[in-house]
Amino acid sequence: MNGYLIAAYTATWIIHIAYLSTLVSRYSRLKREIEELKKK
């Protein structure tokens, strides 16, 4: 398979996965903040 084709498809999924990872980290930070609020 063509190298450029593999590069383009891989880059697409890397960008999507990177964005989804930021969402997951934001969600876990929010969960921590909710826990702290509940403790107070």
Binding site: Y4, T12, L23, L30
Partner: protein, 230 residues
Amino acid sequence: MKKTFPIFGILTAILLSCALYQALVVAPTEQTMGEVQRIFYYHVTSAWTAFILFTINFVASLVYLIRRNPAADMVALVSAEVGIVFCTIVLVTGPIWARPVWGIWWTWDMRLTSTLVLWLIYVSYLVLRRFSSSGETPLLAATLAIFGALCVPFVYFSIWFFRTQHPQPVIGGGGSIDPRMMHVLLINWLAFSCFAFLICWSRYRLEKLQREVEQAQAMESLTQSSRSPR
């Protein structure tokens, strides 16, 4: 509602896998460009999805400006953020496709330059929302979004109004496309549209939760300051 999200997620994953198989195996190989032309199924669908998301951002910003509805503001923010992700993919896959076909990674022609400008406008929109502490931020962002949206039709029609290296659009561009390629393109577009909707849905829930937490934190600090001795 709790079950709808995972079910839709699973269906989207199946659809994306099916679309990938269609793009890499089922779609016929283009005679001039060969295998590299298959980038088309990700590049074009990402561009269409980004345009739709920026249009949603425009409508939501307009609704916010008229009604000051916080839900519209959240929809505007979410659609801009996910739209940037898809626009980034367009700007990354484009040069990867251009290098073997045109012999260059980038050229400052109208389509490519206007797409970059569009991306920069929405990045500045997000930077404004992220770093401005003014209470008027949603209002300023909505105004910026209205001007940003004007760039969307300009990007799309730029290849008709100017001489560019970029090929004519697949739909309405006067060119012809193999029906099997069109079929694969539409499957990929459906898959990426569902994926974009899924991300927007998660991001909207996250944004809503974040605003609720910020509100609770503000209430908490108010309660604490009223309890503390003067």
